[in-house]
Subunit: 296 residues, 2 copies
């Protein structure tokens, strides 16, 4: 059986086209464009790249977008005051605070300050709790993108053994909740593995689906997976590579060369989960705009 | 090796004594008693028993308690208005709405209406999300009681394979989050099993610890567990039994006779998890009172 390379770019492009159509209808009905803002503190190169990609996607689907930048010496108090302004701004439907933040600023305080109704990143604890309880919520963009990728490729999850590698609040934990809860995709038997897991290979060898979200490049290798597994690779690390113009190459958490031949389906890096993350963020933003205009 | 019967009554009694001491100090410092209210709608017999047990525990540890009863024909709107009053009442530090509610009332609407600061049952999505994110939160009483029982008996969880049977919002889901997250107890490799799990026995046979919270009496039998397993039985079902005065006996989700001989440690029903649930509720109430008086 040939391995299916899951094409996140293609899925994202189809879903964004659908979203552009919904956005046009929204704009026709309201005279408004959904508006997303990104808050960036400092000059992290990777953050800059991500934010620019998000702003470009806004334009493509017919959103307004704003990039709001602060110097990396902005005080925590001033940043929180700026968030209050964004919360109160009726022309803005959703916003994200691009992570990481400088060390003198508490990420938890910042995330908790974002209005849950504008929290299109789905990082606020109220959205996390609503999602866990299977209530309407903004799910975090990466796990929500993964769910749609599974749906797009009609990969069955019900009753499947899913192993999630990593328990981060942004990916591992929410994707575990989404896949374990009632629904389709969903209804999987989910095992959450992490740095304290003993004999990890014992777990990964039993998995029908593995979601790798550890942030350790090329961690998952061929001998750790069974024949016919489906692999979702969330990792995205820049590794130095002198042979590249940029000086680096992008690596996932999966050792593609050894894992792909054993896989029924696998996401590449880049071009797998990444494009879906942005799509999910856009979808959340349109949802936020609809909610705020009472169109839910 | 002899099987340890985990004595929830003993653990609860020790922890409630500690709590009574902390409460006395609180009252000395503030001139107030922590105050817990229970809202009961209708006349469910089991609910009545639970609520009375909670009220009795309040007295034992030095709390005030109030039982607020409504007829089972109270409208949803009126119940929500009563909850608003309790939220606004400064003499009340925490309250619970005893479930189940009559069918014409939405449980989600009611739970969402309880102020998260008084939600000592830990059912509000904001508390669920804070707990998932490992932030200060009211954890639901049963899972929080289980965590303390594991701690009381010094049962190691780090790196252990834990299988949770059931994904309810009240037990299965939150105990999965608590055991998987960083901490002690915690740091376990958690597998969440449920009605859609295929080949359940395959999972339970690999478990070092099983938390049974399905609500199916005597579901887990001896051939489903490995030698040396630790069993936490959350089930509590009344089974008809003509030989008893009451006409019923209490059954857990575990078939004790066949599972206990293979277990290193096991909770009985009754007398295992139950007493810890009430203890956790009391601890949450003192915490709520401290928070509301700025003593956190």
């Amino acid at each position: 059986m040939e391995t299916i390379i899951i094409d996140g770019k293609k899925a994202a492009s189809v879903l964004q086209e659908k979203l552009a159509g919904e956005t046009a209808l929204f704009t026709q009905a309201t005279g408004l464009k959904p508006c997303l803002a990104a808050v960036m503190v400092g000059n992290n190169g990777a953050s800059q790249t991500y934010v620019e990609a998000k702003m470009a996607s806004c334009e493509k689907v017919g959103f307004e977008s704003r990039l709001i930048r602060f110097e990396d010496n902005i005080s925590e108090q001033n940043l929180l005051a700026e968030i209050d302004k964004l919360n109160a701004d009726p022309t803005l439907h959703g916003f994200i605070v691009q992570l990481p933040l400088p060390k003198h600023i508490s990420v938890d305080l910042v995330i908790d300050r974002v209005s849950p109704e504008k929290d299109v990143d789905g990082f606020h604890p109220l959205n996390m709790g609503r999602m866990a309880k299977n209530q309407p919520a903004f799910a975090p963009a990466t796990p929500w993108g993964i769910m749609q990728l599974l749906d797009f490729y009609q990969i069955p999850t019900e009753g499947k053994n899913v192993v999630v590698l990593g328990r981060s609040q942004i990916v591992g934990l929410p994707i575990s909740l989404l896949l374990a809860r009632s629904g389709n995709p969903g209804n999987a038997t989910v095992t959450i593995c992490h740095s304290k897991t003993v004999n990890l290979q014992h777990h990964t060898l039993q998995a029908d689906i593995i979601v790798a979200a550890l942030g350790i490049p090329e961690f998952l290798t061929g001998e750790m997976v069974k024949q016919g597994v489906t692999i979702i690779d969330v990792g995205l690390t820049r590794l130095p590579d002198a042979s590249k113009k940029s000086g680096y190459r992008l690596a996932g958490d999966v050792h593609f060369e050894s894992v792909a031949p054993k896989s029924a389906a696998i996401t590449p890096v880049p071009g797998g989960v990444g494009p879906m993350t942005i799509t999910a963020l856009m979808q959340n933003t349109l949802l936020a705009a609809r909610n705020q205009l009472g169109m839910a």
